[in-house]
Symmetry: C2
């Protein structure tokens, strides 16, 4: 597998999208001078200055293949990231995964409290759709509507939230490989797929022309989760910025527990090669997506 | 104040919208045969078979003034109700208001658990936007996008969620009347206003022609909350279907604590008269909205 952009160029792309997403959230989340101040501070705590920004980079890189205005792509990417961040805030709560650290900082319910965590998550959730439907979104209302539908479907009960529900049930039942695969396709895969899809929507690629990009997204989504499972087992908590070794402690079946470390790693690399294969009809404009696929299984956080 | 539709006719309208909203949620929330079943059961528990459906009736009654197809208006009304229901699920959680009963049934976190309550709320939140952006929504994408923006803004940190945050802070600080008014305009008023606004959007009423309807909605939103405060103090828990007397126990300032019972009641009736006054340029097509305004301060649940 070869990619034409170097590790340094990918690192630059990550730095750039992180700065752009932070600036976008900073502008959207001005703290008001009234009793809602703490709500906005909590949203800023979670949304600004942390995270890999994999979904925003996937979205802007896909949009970039079709010469979409970068400012617009960044704004739409912030909507996807707002959904991701809200899901982390809620997922970290004591009644869910009960995590104290996230992205190297205290989680929202630790830095504030549980009630603020509920409302900060709900507020970022609403903000995502406000961004997509607002006056600074894509000027074509048909495209706005398609972006919104894609994100709502990917994050609801037939997407991310449904996957989180399966994840809760995984502690009680011993899931088999097809069930773990479905769980992960929903829990992480759906929003990763939506990031690529929304980049293509912005690029005016018709639904029937998105097959290869969808296949790419599907494969890297699963590879991403296998890599997460491996990191949960073998990773470094300081680098990850959160608690690890949680799956085994909770008695959940994962790709790792079902396949073993060696086969899980092989499967992740196989999926990445397959994902890159789906981009064969694209030229150098897809190089960032190719590099991202490789990064997804080689990252250490 | 006179209204041309009788109490019986209004009761019929409530029965009809309740049946329609239940049928809509029933169709949207088919329980899947996989580990997400409990999530859909929780969503159904909260969304079907309960609640006054004031917001859906406001929306469909406004849309009806402009001869909007009823099936379409009901679907859009279900999006608004999905937002309302999600907010109740989250608001009832132990870390928020800690309520055991809602609409005469156990709250979602009591009937299921806290984690399911978080995810059922999040899922209904996403469902609302999926309904509005989906293929069975309004055929004009510009109208779809306007509906979505209105609902997202009304439910986010500058609307409902922001009002809930102020409500949490109200336990710590002694708010004055302007601050309580702002709190309630956000917490309940924003979604009530959005219901009327979205009916007008469906009716192709341009933004500059919605002034009277907005003024109506603003007044009934505040009247609704004053009536709620009065009910919290003087109401019957069996009829209300939820715990009462909570504001005083929490030491929160309300319209009632600030104005006293007599002046609060007067203010509610004044607001209703004023709301009906804003409808003077409309004929009999606004009679349901007029009756709804009166109902809002006379209801006992």
């Amino acid at each position: 597998m070869t990619t034409a952009i170097s590790d340094n160029a990918l690192a630059d792309a990550f730095r750039q999208i992180s700065a752009d997403v932070d600036a976008c959230f900073d502008a959207l989340l001005t703290v008001p001078d009234d009793p809602r101040a703490v709500l906005f501070q909590a949203m800023r705590h979670a949304a600004i200055g942390g995270g890999k920004r994999v979904r925003p980079l996937l979205l802007t890189s896909t949009a970039g293949m079709f010469n979409v205005d970068r400012g617009l792509a960044v704004r739409v990417a912030c909507a996807v990231e707002a959904i991701h961040v809200y899901s982390l805030i809620h997922d970290d709560m004591p009644c869910m995964d009960n995590d104290d650290m996230r992205r190297g900082k205290p989680t929202v319910h630790k830095a504030f409290n549980d009630a603020v965590a509920v409302l900060a998550g709900d507020s970022l959730h609403a903000l995502a759709f406000e961004i997509l439907a607002g006056s600074q979104s894509h000027p074509d209302p048909f495209i706005r509507s398609e972006l919104i539908y894609t994100l709502a479907e990917a994050s609801g009960p037939n997407g991310m939230a449904g996957g989180q529900m399966m994840d809760l049930e995984a502690e009680k039942a011993k899931f088999d490989l097809p069930t773990v695969t479905k769980l992960q396709r929903l829990k992480t895969g759906a929003l990763i797929a939506a990031s690529v899809e929304m980049g293509a929507i912005l690029g005016n690629v018709p639904a029937e022309g998105r097959g290869q990009l969808r296949a790419y997204a599907r494969d890297i989504g699963l590879a991403f989760q296998i890599a997460d499972d491996i990191m949960d087992e073998t990773g470094d908590e300081a680098k990850a910025g959160k608690a690890l070794h949680k799956d085994a402690a909770a008695g959940k079946e994962t790709f790792l527990s079902l396949l073993g470390l060696e086969r899980a790693r092989e499967q992740a690399f196989f999926l990445v090669d397959q994902a890159v294969g789906h981009l064969a009809s694209y030229g150098r404009e897809a190089d960032t997506l190719r590099a991202l696929a490789r990064y997804i299984v080689e990252r250490d956080n």
